[in-house]
Symmetry: C2
Subunit: 350 residues, 2 copies
């Protein structure tokens, strides 16, 4: 290793530009709240002095990477893409990088929790829409960094999510209010604390309040195709007794509702005259399908999760930078949902 | 700075586990091609010796971060989410992190190119679906790292994309084959080398081959809402002379085609009897809309871009790690497209 010539430091840049070191740092990291003229002056000074900011060296000194890992079940689906968009925006405003880890089921997921490639590469973690096993969560906890979860809940982990049971109740009550009594649900499998389980609870509770039970409970696997197939099977099985057919169906996601609409069309049934369909999300295409639904703020949950993590990180004192962080227990954040009535729901018999 | 007690190194872990240093590295980074039993032995050895791999220290030594920056115009839209999914998968298989930068138009985009927050934080860059100005591209070039672009082309930059003009020609020829002669297009604005411009070229060339010109060219801004509004305006303006109305419309994306279908429904027109609609993409919901379209492999373009970058990075010798990398000039990669005929296209007059 040979000695390098003395290089200009951030203090030299600040002195030449006539601003504070913090302003140099903010300017070079592209953060807001620096006047364009000031940033220009800082960049000119940095160029003149051939100053090179080294995020790596800074990270070794501070123990911080200024990166946040996002661990998500999918990247291609609408909900996940929207959460990601919100998180990226929330993190970027504070100069943090978003490092994406997509964990489909199976071998890749196993490898992630064994190898933990986020170790020492991120300052904090967000878990989006993943149900974790006890062992998987324990693995993450051993990283001793702040963790937040979005959509799903994890024991002892701060969560940004909506009240799924209440939202499902709103959708169900809309159908009940239109006079429906034979109401089916298309959901998905999941553990007792999962999103599909919470939505199923809200659905059955609203029915129970009206003295009813579900007409059918189908598994659509949160995909259009899965929901279309499930409803097609139901309709085929019930051909013999059309009077027993559900007159309405609550779908736990808009994508599944799109599939239900497709299945109705294929079966020659009209919506809402033969069957009302309500979704959950207010997907960007819901309006194009005329879909009635319960809207939830999705990108906003991502932004909130990002802000919570940044609060945890920036709140740490320099003395305990390497120590464990106390994460508050799960709290219901009142992300608000609302009923959006369009063309796919109507009175019984249309 | 106080001296730390001697810590176990990777060589100690390899010796204790009875494997090579490379295998230890692969095991701890969660890479494939390590037997589960071997990985277990390595993790046990690492735990016993309290070995802590430091990606930061490794990055300072090698000058590599093992991260790739992805700069995208959007995160929430289907195409971008799918490319991201493919890139994440392609990078992860080689132990690279994906760092996401979403650059909407306006102030955030400006800040990115001035501050260049990717500097020294990533080994390579992928630009997804962004038209860059000369100045913006020059900024990225000064980073002296490999750059790839997806969907759009950039001068002198390797590109993973489809032949947009040819694909648009396939869609247009399908409509011509059904006997349509008054064919409109819903596209979007863009520079001469942009994706919408290439698709428009393919559309008008196919029409010209049949001795025709476009019946109308509308701007739908690549959104369902934009396309619905544009087609609604066209239909309203042409009420006086229905005989002059286009009998078919080529939409430059499926999301815009969904909007066109919505506008037709709102106007009381039937599809395909009154107007045929063909899209572009084969969006995951295209089947649910019965949409005829030209399918393109999207996640695959992301995978290919990731592989190309990794090839550039791993191909570099240790001596020129800090030097510029020669990036081959743009090449048309034959990502294949194909016509998918569903229910929204039919003969003139249905």
């Amino acid at each position: 290793v040979t000695a390098e010539p003395a290089r200009a430091g951030i203090v030299d840049v600040a002195r030449l530009a006539g601003v504070s070191v913090a302003t140099v740092s903010r300017s070079l990291r592209g953060l807001p709240n620096v006047a364009a003229s000031t940033r220009e002056r800082v960049l000119n000074a940095a160029e003149e002095l051939e100053y090179i900011a080294s995020p790596l060296a800074a990270a070794l000194v501070t123990g911080r990477t200024r990166s946040v890992g996002v661990v998500a079940a999918y990247a291609g689906r609408w909900f996940f893409a929207e959460v990601l968009r919100g998180m990226e925006e929330g993190l970027r405003d504070f100069g943090y990088d978003l490092v994406l880890h997509v964990l489909p089921e199976g071998e890749r997921r196993q490898r992630f929790f064994v190898g933990l490639p986020v170790r020492r590469r991120v300052d904090a973690l967000a878990v989006v829409g993943l149900e974790l096993t006890r062992g998987e969560l324990d693995s993450l906890r051993r990283l001793q960094i702040p963790i937040v979860c979005v959509a799903e809940s994890l024991p002892g982990v701060h969560s940004e999510r909506i009240d799924n049971a209440a939202a499902a109740g709103i959708a169900t009550e809309h159908l009940l209010g239109l006079g429906h009594t034979r109401i089916a649900m298309i959901g998905a499998s999941g553990g007792p604390g999962s999103v599909p389980a919470a939505r199923a609870r809200g659905f059955t509770a609203a029915l129970a309040d009206a003295g009813l039970t579900p007409a059918a409970v189908l598994d659509g696997d949160f995909t259009s195709r899965g929901a279309a197939d499930a409803l097609t099977r139901l309709l085929a099985g019930e051909r013999s007794g059309a009077s027993g057919r559900p007159t309405a169906v609550f779908c736990q996601s808009d994508e599944m509702a799109f599939g239900a609409l497709y299945a109705l069309g294929q079966a020659g049934l009209r919506c809402p005259q033969d069957m009302s369909v309500i979704g959950f999300d207010d997907h960007e295409l819901a309006e194009m399908f005329g879909l009635s639904t319960v809207s939830q703020p999705v990108a906003e949950q991502g932004v909130a999760a990002a802000r919570w993590l940044i609060g945890s990180l920036e709140g740490r004192g320099p003395d305990d930078a390497a120590g464990p962080v106390t994460v508050p227990s799960a709290a219901d954040v009142p992300h608000s949902v609302r009923l959006v009535v369009r063309a796919t729901t109507g009175p019984v018999g249309g």
